[in-house]
């Protein structure tokens, strides 16, 4: 065993793993299991409440990524797909269900034993079915996926894909029992753009623009995780100055996104002045990003090997000024949140229990007491800068709002520290034309983002990005059940549900 973790101890039945063939999947090692061992690993993971971080496929194999219990490493495993079939993880690990539907739609691999293989991304409009398979099939007949013909006794409230004022394209169907939500069902895949196939065959540098456009408000986080995966696969390291600039970019993105979410929730809760204040502060930050990095959302600023360009002369000062404005506006925003109106509107809404939060990273997990933050152990660029995870206990919309406010404060401090200690030197390293497999991770404003890449002679052979949406949608569905219909918008927004990133 080599690499970042002592993989002998990863699963309860460590004999399985140790006997398996291991391949480099830097910074860790991936164990290629037999179908029986794959199923046994899933059972062991479920028995010990291991977190399934991601589940994906390529034309020949399926992969799963588990979080090591000490949270300092991730454990990739895989198994070959035999005659189009592999053992399903979902009977013991329910969070695998959406991934299994995605894998079936894109590659045609069928999860044997899965309870639900309804289409997820393939709405019957593509020119072929299983477009990522070695040999795509004729198209699936177009069917009305929005026709859920189950609970006909209840009133149904349907929103999307064209819904809300300005938002992402997703369908959410609330089945009502009087004023309460009986159950919530989501359907995504509308914004599926074929990102995995577009990345294939390109150099990491050329494919980075697709990683940057998975989800615009996490563009820096996705770009960093993608770059880290490419750098791990090709065994290069971004120069120290680039590493530190990435910290500045990611924390600035976090501040801007949290301000946007807080503004939106305050607007929905009727606190217009808080909303206007946060909106103005966000705009101030975005304008500083334009001056410092040449792009308001910092899109394409992070590239494999480092960052695209150094911070513009005078940009650091502009950024410091804007963040100073945020720092001086924060106490008033906090005061408004502690005030009875906003606090009582948000408390108790969309509550998730500690048990539900076990698999949830990001804000949702931390607001329910799970102190997991990828910056602490999984992003070496942070080192001693990594802040202690900001946690709350209540698990409701108010707790999520409180975590966001705490994190803005932490990020303001972090950007200041990183700017003060910015090392001199180059901002990018050249990528060799090599081959290899790697995994990268970043803590976005919503939660941990993971990218897996296999590079063959300098070109991407296979890729998978895991957006936090894969975790958040099932969690939001559970939190919506039992809530009042009138609170649905606030609950949705408090999870900051994304669509594009997980639609691929």
């Amino acid at each position: 065993m080599a690499g970042g973790g002592d993989n002998g101890a990863i699963m309860s039945d460590s004999g399985i793993i140790e006997s398996a063939r291991a391949e480099a999947c830097r910074p860790w090692r991936r164990h290629d299991l037999s179908a029986a061992d794959w199923a046994e690993t899933a059972r062991a993971a479920a028995a010990e409440s291991r977190v399934l971080l991601a589940h994906w496929a390529d034309a020949a194999r399926v992969y799963a990524l588990f979080l090591d219990p000490d949270a300092g490493a991730a454990v990739p495993v895989s198994t070959a797909v035999e005659a189009g079939v592999y053992p399903a993880l979902s009977p013991v690990l329910p969070s695998a269900a959406l991934y299994e539907r995605m894998i079936h739609d894109l590659f045609g691999h069928r999860a044997d034993g899965a309870g639900d293989l309804r289409p997820w991304l393939d709405h019957g409009a593509w020119p072929c079915a299983h477009p990522m398979a070695a040999r795509p099939s004729p198209p699936r007949p177009e069917s009305d996926l929005l026709d859920f013909s189950d609970q006909d006794r209840h009133m149904v409230l349907s929103t999307g894909p064209v819904g809300g004022l300005i938002g992402e394209a997703a369908h959410l169907r609330l089945t009502l029992d009087g004023p309460a939500i009986h159950r919530a069902d989501s359907l995504l895949g509308f914004t599926h753009k074929g990102t995995l196939s577009l990345m294939r065959g390109k150099s990491p540098r050329n494919a980075a623009r697709f990683a940057a456009r998975l989800s615009a408000d996490s563009t820096v986080a996705h770009s960093i995780a993608f770059a880290a995966a490419a750098e791990a696969a090709l065994e290069v390291a971004a120069p120290p100055r680039a590493q530190r600039l990435r910290v500045i970019l990611l924390e600035t993105e976090r501040i801007a996104v949290h301000l946007d979410t807080i503004a939106e929730i305050a607007r929905l809760a009727g606190a217009r002045s808080v909303s206007a204040r946060c909106g103005a502060l966000r705009e101030t930050v975005l304008r500083a990003c334009q001056s410092a990095f040449g792009h308001r959302l910092m899109m394409d600023c992070v590239v494999p090997g480092g960052v695209a360009a150094d911070i513009v002369a005078g940009g650091a000062e502009a950024l410091v000024r804007a963040l100073g404005d945020v720092a001086s506006g924060l106490p008033e925003i906090r005061r408004q949140h502690d005030g009875t109106a906003l606090a009582s509107r948000l408390s108790g809404l969309g509550r998730i229990s500690g048990a539900m939060a076990v698999s949830a990273g990001g804000i949702a997990g931390r607001a329910a007491g799970r102190g997991f933050d990828a910056r602490s152990a999984l992003m070496p660029a942070y080192g001693h800068l990594a802040p202690p995870p900001a946690t709350q206990k209540a698990g409701d919309a108010a707790a999520r709002q409180a975590v966001r406010l705490d994190e803005i404060e932490q990020s303001l401090h972090l950007v200041g520290c990183a700017l003060d200690t910015l090392p001199a030197g180059p901002v990018a390293a050249a990528l060799p034309q090599g081959s290899g497999e790697g995994i990268g991770c970043a803590e976005s404003s919503r939660g941990d983002v993971w990218h897996w890449l296999r590079i063959d002679h300098g070109q991407i052979a296979a890729a998978f990005p895991r957006d936090p949406g894969w975790v958040l949608w099932p969690l939001a569905e559970a939190a919506l059940a039992g809530a009042m219909a009138e609170d649905a918008d606030i609950i949705r927004t408090s999870f900051a549900l994304p669509a594009s990133g997980m639609d691929l």
Binding site: L121, H123, A125, W126, P127, C128, P131, P161, V162, L165, I166, G167, E168, A169, G189, F190, T191, H192, K193, G194, T195, S197, L198, R209, F210, R213, L214, S215, A216, D217, T219, D260, A276, G279, A280, R282, E283, L286, Q290, R296, L297, M299, P498, A499, S500
Partner: protein, 163 residues
């Protein structure tokens, strides 16, 4: 019952009606016509254009002072603002939104993806730009276009509409 004392009135002078209505129409075009209801339709965006569309409502741009506002339904809209490459999965949604909007209506394609598919051109899941499905009146390029750019495009539409 007594008859009401009011006497039957003859028809008003048709010439007066015609001249009044012409004057009203001219005044209304200038005073009331300077307002557009906008419905946003996402046809597969990465959410970048949405972030900048939302920014239009912050106090720096204050979209509503120009008589521009976002509405909930395409039935209430004069303008459809379309973002994102046209994915195959959202083509029907765009066409339904376009059919639902009453004439006269305008379509504004916002962002490089809505122009021609942008970086997603050539994917099996993407058809291309908005124009492949509905007629586009105005295109605003950028990835994403800044709020200033979007606002200037929308105001041009407003001026053209009032002229």
């Amino acid at each position: 019952m007594n008859q009401p004392p009011a006497e039957p009135a003859g028809a008003p002078d048709p010439e007066t009606i015609a001249s009044l209505s012409a004057r009203l129409e001219a005044a209304a075009r200038v005073r009331l016509g300077r307002s557009l209801a906008i419905r946003h339709v996402n046809t597969g965006s990465c959410n970048g254009c949405e972030l900048e569309l939302r920014a239009l409502s912050n106090v720096f741009y204050d979209l509503e002072r120009f008589g521009l506002r976002f509405v909930d339904s395409p039935r209430h809209a004069d303008v459809l603002v379309v973002t994102g490459p046209l994915t195959r999965n959202l083509k029907t949604a765009l066409e339904q939104a376009w059919d639902a909007a009453a004439e006269p209506k305008w379509v504004v394609a916002v962002g490089d993806c809505a122009l021609d598919g942008g970086v997603f051109k050539g994917s099996y899941a993407v058809l291309g730009g908005t124009g492949l499905s509905v007629p586009v009146d105005l295109a605003i390029s950028g990835c994403p276009p800044s709020p200033t750019r979007i606002l200037s495009g929308l105001r041009a539409l407003l001026e053209a509409n009032a002229a």
